[in-house]
Amino acid sequence: MQFNPKILKTSTFRLAAIYLLVFALSVGSILAYVFWNTAGLLERQTDATIRAEVQALADQYRLLGLRGIVQTVQRRSAERGGGVYLIADANGNRVAGNLETVPPQVIDETGWIDFPLDIQIGTNKQRRSARAFHTDLKDDYELIVGRDVQELRQFGDIIRRTLYWALGIALVLGLGGGLLTSRNFLRRVDAITDASRAIMGGNLSSRMPVLGTGDELDKLARSLNEMLDQIERLMTGMKEVSSNVAHDLKTPLTRLRARVESALRSNSKTEYRAALDKTIEESDRLLQTFNALLSIARAESGQSREMLQTIDAREIVEGVAELYEPIAEEDGGTLDVKVVAGLNVLADRQLLSQALSNLVDNALKYGVTEENPKPHIQIEGKLEEGNVIILVADRGAGIAAEDRARVLDRFVRLDSSRSKPGNGLGLSLVAGVMKLHGGALLLEENNPGLRAKLVLPLHESES
């Protein structure tokens, strides 16, 4: 496991370090509490016993005098309970007790002393720890009562050592865990970075690694992958569009070239003229196609979203209806408009008018059948579930359900419409404009005919 200094800079590591500090503090205080309640408790109990005994002996001395306590001390010194006793006279000579001399630690009148104690066990001399309380009795006698605390001290040491170890192990585990977590996190972030580098390098099919753990990194990787899927779809779509464009422009260009070539060969002034007239017509149609493609691209890229303004869709509907109404009448048909007020939308007046005019134009062109040659078009503007709805319905042949998605693609023309003028871009533009406006174009059955439905979000004005 090679140490990587980068780890120290990661947010995970910083978090792990703070966590570790808090962890160490709590483990430390728990261990201190354990110590206080085990080794500490025993020492306090020993001290209490010693004090009680000293008190008892002092009382006895007051009542019975020196002889009274000497007897008691001699009896207790003989017991093998680990007790340490000494009554010494003013010169420090032993009067009674199992301690030979006054330990050098005794300096003041009364208090606790800790001192080493040498005991003879068999032939071995053993040095042990003792703790005692000494006090001056009347007539300059000195009383020392204590206990052999060797076992107690050893027990305390064991407890202390155990606790230090526990603390140490906890810290090491915490630190190691923190480092491991950071390293793991870093490795996954690095994997994501590497994947995005690869994608930037041109490998669009590459994806972020997903472990399937469902954690935040996985969620991030998933949404990045979804984004990449969308981009890849767009790119593929664009490639398709380019080849469609190339194909659809090749046909009129070939026609144009052939016409010019044959006119040149004819050597007749009238043919020249006719060919030039046709050439202008054809190139105008090509330009129309180009302009339509550009408008679609612009609407789809959404770059002009900042141009959108609050407008009443009613004005758009009425304007377009007014533009086309004479045409419907010219064809012996009708164009009915039913629109309510207050259809505020955030829109580009030109683009939305163009989209609607495409739908009405389609209805006029394709909304007729052999039995029903007069266009009857209904345009409706209304509110529905918080959306602004604009309907354009005709009574023509309609579009079969399975073709409805397809006709929104660029250059798709259904066989039934090939005989009529058009470039197969009208509905693509409408769909693109709807996308720009955050709306949708839906094609529905009108029984008979087609009902094109524009759905736009209602824009609540601030006032």
Binding site: I280, Q288, Q350, S357
Partner: protein
């Protein structure tokens, strides 16, 4: 294409002779510029040519021209900067902007910079000529006119009354607007796009020739029952109300 008659039928009421406008063409593409200059000269106008932005600005600042035709993308200084510089100096010569950028918002940018009209490339020469001459007229027209007259057809802009030979003709609001625009340009060709832009304020191509239907409706109202047709169709170019 026969356009030249637009000069022959020039109305006398306007106080300047449009026969010979002096037009500055600022366009770097040599072929496009020579095609434009040839057409304008053939239509009877005098032209000057600048092939880059700086020269164009210098020439336009002399304030000798009736109309400026400015390409948007030019070497040394772009078209919109030229227009801004001119307007900042108080030079109000009408400007027609030419541009390959056809989007509506590009058009708005051009007009905001101080351009008077915007024409997307490629364009038909008849369209350009109609617009250039329209700009020339706009510059010389008296703005406070309240009545427009062409032969025996008269419209009152205040009362919105239309009469021909003393006979009142009722018109729908849009028909009135259409007629007003044609009358303001009486004796001159207006194209379908000019009508769509100025009467309807639509800057897109409605594919079907909707304008033709509207014009023929208007024609049936103002010409029906009269011997002399006033609203004429100019083949391959547009429409014109006869001035005399």
């Amino acid at each position: 294409m026969q356009i030249s008659h637009s000069r022959e039928t020039e109305s006398q009421g306007i106080g300047r002779n449009l026969d010979s406008m002096r037009i500055l063409v600022i366009e770097d593409d040599r072929d496009a510029a020579s095609w434009l200059i040839k057409g304008l000269t053939e239509s009877g106008h005098v032209t000057d040519h600048a092939a880059n932005g700086e020269d164009g600005l210098a020439m336009a600042q002399e304030n000798l021209h009736d109309i400026l035709i400015v390409d948007r993308m030019l070497p040394k200084m772009d078209g919109l900067s030229i227009i801004r510089a001119l307007r900042a100096k108080g030079i109000t010569t009408p400007v027609l902007i030419l541009s390959a950028l056809s989007d509506v918002d590009e058009r708005v940018k051009g007009l905001r910079a101080g351009g008077d009209d915007y024409l997307a490339k490629p364009y038909a020469f008849s369209e350009l000529l109609a617009r250039v001459e329209g700009l020339g007229r706009r510059n010389s027209q008296e703005p406070q006119e309240t009545k427009l007259k062409a032969v025996d057809l008269e419209i009152d802009l205040l009362t919105r009354a239309v009469t021909r030979a003393g006979q009142t003709i009722p018109l729908q609001p849009r028909e009135f607007k259409l007629l007003e625009y044609l009358m303001r340009n009486a004796g001159h060709i207006v194209t379908r796009t000019m009508l769509l832009e100025n009467v309807w304020d639509y800057h897109f191509d409605p594919q079907t020739n909707v304008i033709d239907v509207h014009v023929s409706r208007l024609r049936s109202k103002i010409d029906k029952g009269f011997d002399e047709p006033l609203l004429q169709t100019v083949r391959g170019a547009g429409y014109m109300i006869r001035a005399v």
